[in-house]
Amino acid sequence: MPRLVPTAEITLGPFFPPSYVDAGANDLTTCEGKTARGEVIEIHGTVTQHDGTPLHNVVLEIWQADANGIFCDAHDPRSQEADPGFYGWGRAATDAAGRYWFRTIRPGRYAAANGTLRAPHVNLVVVFSGLMRQLSTVIFFDDGAGNGTDPVLTSVAPALCARMLACGEGGGRYRFDVVLRGARESVFFDD
């Protein structure tokens, strides 16, 4: 069968319904009444554009493994052992000061195809008015094990790796700012 061409992606525009950012969608520590296993952490930060202006109503979505490094997806070879209290996906939107906030579980590690252990990480997608396609980055942790050998973190210029590290503030709280464009631009991937 001939391959179909993926549909052209078009910005979500300025009128994405606020009701689509459901209350609690940024809290991944429970799922259908069950509590996730593992260490609760918070990831927060601001989203700014080229001139440093903080942006309101930016939609951020995360996808990550559970505390044991298992994704809640049948494509994960260990999905049968996935934490039933952890769905692994969440959504947040920035407030008027450009701030966002997620409450989640510290992700575990898992073996990549070549046997290397992936460093703990959270996949982040940004969708917003003026972005014709979603922007993808990855949040690593400044105290994460195995950062130095992670295949994704080491695929970017060493000087820019720090822009993919969430900074620990103590108490399981991490700061990760997102700069869409400019001198301190975040690392985004074109997949």
Partner: protein
């Protein structure tokens, strides 16, 4: 090979052909230049990207696909049904996938605090539908045809009538936001976004197909539309 093994093979996601996509920065759409990164990086793709959430109904409330209202609460405007099919690059239906749709009302006004145009709101039209695809990867929306509207501070750029869609495919890489246009609209030929797609086939794929009025319900026009999400099945040989 058992069916279970087939399902668990990862899906292949290849780079998009730029001719089939709008450029990330569009002339005359100033915000694209403020927010698009100057540099994009390539990375090795791993389990983290080839997996993805399914069954978002566990996290997001469903709002249903019928948003036109009925009786005295029916929204103003032309009643339409939109038959959406969500497929992957093999043409296989994507079942159980969350789809979010939102749109302007018949006057071209969104029920959103950002929309400060003078066109009137319709108290019977919130303009938002969120629903999961059925076992054939389809959703039938019952809504009203949106109006076009001028983009503020844009030197008279009018958006043609369109629906917004936010969809999930089978992996985190197949997450997609797009728009659907209506056939025969004069504004289609002037839209800075639609015109920015180089491939005419890709532009036409963004425009729904109107069914003959002899098909569908008595009281509504019917449009068919297909959204193709990224990804195709890996074969056993490739795995």
């Amino acid at each position: 090979m058992t069916e279970v093994q087939v399902v668990r093979l990862p899906h292949i996601v290849e780079p998009l052909d730029p001719a089939t996509q709008p450029p990330r920065v569009i002339p005359g759409y100033v915000q694209t230049g403020w927010r698009t990164p100057e540099k994009l990086w390539r990375r090795p793709l791993t389990r983290s990207e080839f997996t993805g959430p399914s069954g978002q109904g566990r996290r997001l409330a469903q709002l249903g696909a019928d948003i036109a209202g009925r009786g005295e609460r029916q929204a103003l405007g032309q009643l339409i049904h939109v038959r959406l099919a969500l497929v992957d690059e093999d043409g296989s239906p994507v079942t159980g996938a969350m789809v979010e749709m939102w749109q302007a009302n018949a006057a071209g006004r969104y029920a959103h605090p950002n929309d400060t145009e003078h066109a009137p709101l319709d108290p019977n039209f919130p303009g938002a539908a969120r629903v999961v695809t059925d076992e054939s990867g389809r959703i039938e929306f019952r809504t009203i045809k949106p109006g076009g509207y001028p983009v503020p501070d844009s030197r008279r750029w009018w958006r043609p009538p369109h629906l917004h869609f936010s969809v999930w495919g089978r992996s985190f890489l197949s997450r997609m936001v797009t728009q659907m246009f209506f056939p025969g609209e004069p504004l289609n030929a002037q839209d800075r976004i639609l015109l920015s797609v180089a491939s005419s086939d890709a532009r036409e794929a963004l425009v729904a197909r109107a069914l003959p009025t002899t098909e569908g319900p008595d009281d509504a026009l019917v449009y068919e539309h297909r959204i193709v999400v990224r990804g195709r099945r890996a074969t056993a040989e490739l795995d």
